[in-house]
């Protein structure tokens, strides 16, 4: 029992890039355990996702194609994953630390009598497997070990590069977990925030706005700047709570964690809970009227300026460069 099982995540019939980062984590882990990397796909008629998963040089791709998995429900997915973990002799079961991964994996851990690590940022072998994970809004990093034979891990995908296709295609095996659908949980709806922009967690550039923008309409200038650079749009919790931006845009301890090449924090003060979601960015630009705003403690480039003037000017000048 040394194999590593990756639970794939997909949206709109396409593999989510976060899964490719988990495959990289799984390769690191399998090298230490001396096992293979296997992938489990749960869904209904997502053959294209299965075909894509076959391109990453993994040992087995298990595909449970069933209408019971058309919509995500932890109550139906968790027992299927536990069955796949037994089928593949998995020592480690892992998935992205997305909202789905967070909702799902503890249930998998309970069924497998496994200890679970949330938000792993590294795996190493130092007299047994050790995982590092952030806590206290990223202000502390702990090293932990899991004493149970099977270990369940949610992976902080910003800390692992997305795996690239490699080697021959793996044959896709159909897999029947043999679990009856739950009678106590029902999927009702998924209301997707549709956007032409890249996903926040994948984007090379993120432009985030805060409460200082004072209205949802004023977020237009944030979107214009993002679109100029082909970036994604984010927001502070205060901006989301005030109704300026949808919840899906929230960055921070209790929102998304991003680590783009370039992050703009516009009219965001820089509370520790916000920093927890963006401190790993390569270049941070802060635009704020208050020279003492804590965001300037972590930014590479700061502008003490009124966003309503600086952002449109910046967009215009960058647009000229990009053209």
């Amino acid at each position: 029992m040394a194999n590593v099982l990756v639970v794939a995540e997909h949206l709109d019939g396409a593999l989510r890039k976060v899964t490719r980062s988990v495959i990289t984590f799984a390769r690191d882990a399998a090298e230490l355990t001396g096992g293979d990397v296997d992938v489990l796909l749960l869904g209904s008629d997502v053959d294209a996702v299965a075909e894509e998963l076959a391109q990453y040089g993994v040992s087995r791709v298990l595909y449970a194609n069933d209408s019971a998995y058309a919509n995500y429900l932890a109550e139906n997915y968790a027992p299927a994953i536990a069955a796949a973990a037994e089928e593949t002799d998995a020592a480690i079961v892992c998935a992205p630390a997305s909202t789905t991964g967070k909702d799902l994996l503890p249930r998998v851990a309970a069924s497998l009598e496994a200890g679970m690590v949330s938000d792993a940022i590294s795996v190493s072998d130092d007299d047994g497997l050790k995982f590092r994970r952030p806590l206290w809004a990223g202000n502390v990093i702990t090293t932990v070990e899991v004493v149970t034979p099977v270990k369940v891990v949610s992976v902080r995908t910003t800390d692992f590069d997305a795996a690239e296709p490699s080697g021959d295609a793996t044959p896709v095996e159909s897999f029947d977990p043999g679990v009856a659908p739950s009678e106590t949980a029902e999927f009702v709806s998924f209301d997707q925030v549709k956007s032409e922009r890249p996903e926040l967690t994948d984007a090379e550039v993120v432009v985030a706005g805060g409460r200082g923008l004072r209205s949802g309409e004023n977020f237009e200038m944030i979107m214009d700047l993002a679109d100029t650079l082909g970036g994604a749009v984010g927001a502070s919790r205060a901006a989301v709570d005030s109704g300026y931006a949808p919840n899906d845009w929230q960055i921070g301890q209790t929102g998304k964690v991003v680590a783009p090449q370039l992050y703009f924090a516009v009219a965001i003060s820089g509370a520790i809970q916000h920093l927890a979601g963006m401190k790993g960015s390569q270049n941070i630009v802060a635009i704020n009227t208050d020279p003492d705003a804590p965001i300037f403690q972590v930014s590479d480039y700061g502008l003490v300026a009124d966003a309503f003037e600086a952002v449109p000017e910046l967009t215009e000048k960058l647009q000229k460069l990009v053209d």
């Binding site: 949206l11 249930r107 809004a137 202000n139 949980a185 209790t254 403690q297 700061g302 600086a310 910046l314």
Partner: protein, 248 residues
């Protein structure tokens, strides 16, 4: 309707935590504690459900004797009684879930309200583990809860948007931050809370072995970012982004 709500005592999220020189934990001297922020939303929702449907709200905490303070806060907000499972041990989420499993078997609640994550350990595991041990359905990250006819309809904040799920009670719901506005404890509430029943048990009384499945070996500070420069104007910013950071 009997509603159970969980309350974790955590370090004040707005304080900067310091790590002990021997890396064995964080400095606890002089540290302020309070109720986990997400649990305030859970307690509020529990009380709101009671106000609509009648019944009883029971608050539970697992931790040191000082956690009675957070339980009194929950009762001052409106919980009817409280249970402290007293231990000074460092519990992992699994031990928390196994202790709560025993409490649920004794109390037989119709619904359990918990926080979506602890602001100290940031794990987001305890509720889902508990749901699995009880073989109950779960609705995590709730921003909207409607209880009717033995079911809860829950709006959830998820990647990519929002989603709605129905669970048949008994079930577990975890609170996200936009679920409600937690009420403040009023002065009469605080006075009343002093006389509300608070039962103290130990993990031994419940027959739960709290040995962790996950051991924390070392605490470290992350690499600090250095503060950069304050620039003159937009032109300088554009220049630096293009010619120094090479990101345009």
């Amino acid at each position: 309707m009997k509603i159970l709500t969980t309350v974790k005592r955590v370090t004040d999220p707005d304080m900067k935590v310091k790590i002990k020189p021997d890396q064995s934990g964080v400095v606890t001297e002089g540290v302020e504690y309070k109720m986990n922020s997400f649990d305030e939303y859970g307690v509020e929702e529990a009380i709101a459900i009671k106000e609509e449907h009648g019944g009883e709200v029971v608050a539970v905490s697992i931790g040191p004797s000082q956690s009675t303070k957070e339980l009194r806060t929950a009762m001052a907000m409106g919980a009817d009684r409280a249970i402290l499972v007293e231990t000074d041990a460092d519990l992992d989420s699994d031990a928390v879930a196994r202790v709560l499993t025993e409490i649920v078997q004794r109390e037989e609640p119709d619904v359990i309200l918990m926080g979506k994550q602890s602001v100290d350990s940031d794990r987001s595991q305890a509720a889902q583990l508990l749901a699995s041990y009880l073989d109950w359905p779960q609705a995590t990250f709730a921003y909207d809860v409607e209880v009717a006819d033995g079911w809860a309809t829950v709006g959830r904040e998820v990647d990519g948007g929002t989603s709605t799920k129905r669970i048949r009670l008994p079930g577990i719901i975890t609170a996200d931050l936009r679920l409600n506005e937690p009420r403040y404890a009023s002065l009469p509430g605080i006075m009343k809370a002093k006389r509300k029943p608070l039962e103290t048990l130990t993990p031994d009384d419940l027959g739960v072995d709290i040995a962790p499945r996950v051991n924390v070996l070392k605490f470290e500070a992350p690499e600090e970012r250095e503060a950069g420069e304050i620039l003159e104007d937009v032109d300088e910013l554009v220049d630096r982004l293009k010619n120094e950071a090479n990101v345009i």
